[in-house]
């Protein structure tokens, strides 16, 4: 602060608190909705204060499952989401590290061609090529399994660019020194480049985990088998299954469970998250 203006300060705090209230209001409503029983959730006006059914509902979505026939356990859906998010994050980071390493540290024919091929993927989001990509995945027999859910999403131009940027700032002397000590290319990669890029990898992991966890359109197309549903699309199925009389207390509980892991990641690893966001997007 530059000068003392109590009025301006109070005003700023008030606006910020209002902003926080606006941002948090939907989540409060979700939490309240998840803590009442089915009967209370069909009577308007709905409650604004939490009830005492939170753990009953929690048990209900985990043990009995949700949906029409109650056969989908939220636990299984969360497990699927976790596997998908981890595979996407780890897969993207691995292949991007390798290709960035090749492009920065080796001179070989078609190097630039490969670089531009990777660049093009930036311009082809899933949403604009859904049908043909779906056909490819179907022809490869990758429907309804983890490979189909993740592999088509793990090519990444942004991650490759980020690692390229990181590698370019690594001093040349490191490679020279490593060579004098007799290290080969893979040894140099493992023992020197990877430890140097540790923070960047972690930051990228945070972003990609959220990206993977929140995937919606792709799992919606690839999975028809209920045991492969992810939690984010499971919510949609619940809404659809009960168009007439949605079981809001269970839907809100599932919604809460769907957002807890990525929100924990953002809040818990805030520094890494901000670093990852500002570095990959620019």
């Amino acid at each position: 602060m530059i000068e003392k203006r109590p009025m301006v300060s109070w005003f700023s705090h008030a606006v910020l608190l209002l902003g926080i209230a606006m941002v948090a209001f939907p989540i409060w409503i979700t939490f309240v909705g998840a803590s009442h029983d089915a009967i209370r959730m069909t009577q308007a006006p709905l409650p604004l204060l939490p009830g005492d059914q939170f753990f009953v509902n929690l048990k209900a979505v985990f043990v009995q499952g949700v949906g029409n026939a109650k056969e989908q356990s939220v636990g299984l859906m969360m497990f699927n989401s976790l596997v998908m998010a981890m595979m996407i994050a780890v897969g993207k980071i691995t292949i991007s590290l390798l290709s960035a390493y090749a492009i920065v540290y080796f001179r070989f024919p078609f190097r630039m061609l490969f670089f531009w091929m990777i660049f093009i993927t930036l311009m082809l989001p899933v949403e604009v090529r859904i049908l043909p990509t779906f056909e490819v995945v179907a022809n490869l027999g990758m429907l309804n399994n983890y490979w189909g859910l993740t592999v088509p999403l793990i090519a990444s131009a942004t991650a490759t660019f980020m690692f390229r940027q990181v590698f370019l700032t690594v001093p040349d002397e490191l490679l020279e020194a490593a060579r004098i000590d007799g290290a080969g290319p893979m040894r140099f990669f493992w023992d020197i480049l990877l430890p140097i890029s540790r923070t960047n990898i972690a930051a990228l992991f945070v972003i990609l985990f959220i990206y993977g966890w929140n995937q919606y359109l792709w799992p919606l197309l690839i999975t028809t088998d209920k045991s492969m549903y992810t939690i984010v699309m499971g919510i949609k199925q619940m809404l659809e299954a009960a168009e007439e009389a949605p079981e809001w207390h269970l839907i809100m509980m599932t919604t809460l469970l769907a957002m807890i892991p990525p929100v924990m990641v953002v809040v818990g690893m805030q520094k890494l998250f901000i670093k990852g966001l500002t570095e990959t997007e620019k």
């Binding site: 604009v128 090529r129 919606l220």
Partner: protein, 293 residues
Amino acid sequence: MLKRTHFKPSALPYLLVAPQIIITVVFFIWPASQAVYQSLLLEDPFGLRTEFIWFENYVELFTDSIYFSTFLRTIVFSSLVAFLSLFIALILAAMADHVVRGTTVYRTLLIWPYAVAPVVAGTIWMFIFDPTLGIVSYLLHFVGYDWNHRLNGGQAMALIVLAATWKQISYNFLFFLAGMQSIPKSLIEAAAIDGAGPARRFWTIIFPLISPTTFFLMVMNIVYAFFETFGIVHAVTKGGPAKSTEILVYKVFNDGFIGLDLGGSAAQSVILMILVIALTIIQFKYIERKVEY
């Protein structure tokens, strides 16, 4: 681009780029070229008969008033989302930058909607505005306003704009705050000594200096509203009522997977690809300008 000291040619670099290149070709370049090819075909839904018809699918799209209104609707939708979320985020970031104590606490409490999936955000807002049960629609009913987004197209649009904006505020806020905090404090202090108040300092110093961030965010917000809001539309309105919330991405999905108009859907995909390419080029031009800046 290439390191001054690098390794000698060998087969190794090919092995290193292979996974990325194979995935790129199989799941990106090949399907995209298929989309271009399919957009020139007329296929029946069962794939029994195919006819090469050149650009007829495109001609049909461009002369189709429904497609045109979808296009307009998407532009209105994304402008509303981009403008509202940028505006709110800018105010919040300016305030968070101004207060001395608590900036990090405020930041923590404002950024987490970024982690909420669009479809989850849509579900929650749908619950809040549920015509028979929702809390806000109940309150609106008391003021004498009838809320039913299942019947009223304008209200359905307002609801998806609200859900999409709510989710995007945190992203914009983070970038604005980072931009403001990178402005040297001495500039602000000099202006304060010259007698400029907080509002004046914001408009004459802070706002012009963060204009690259603003421009970058505008592009990113348009991309977000065009593509990533699919989940919101799909969960909340399914494009309805009477197509009043059908945006371009939703139409590609709907025509292709539900309507099985393969050629038409592919032509729409190609148009979307051209849009993304244009936006990417704009964004990259901006980055170059920022380097000079």
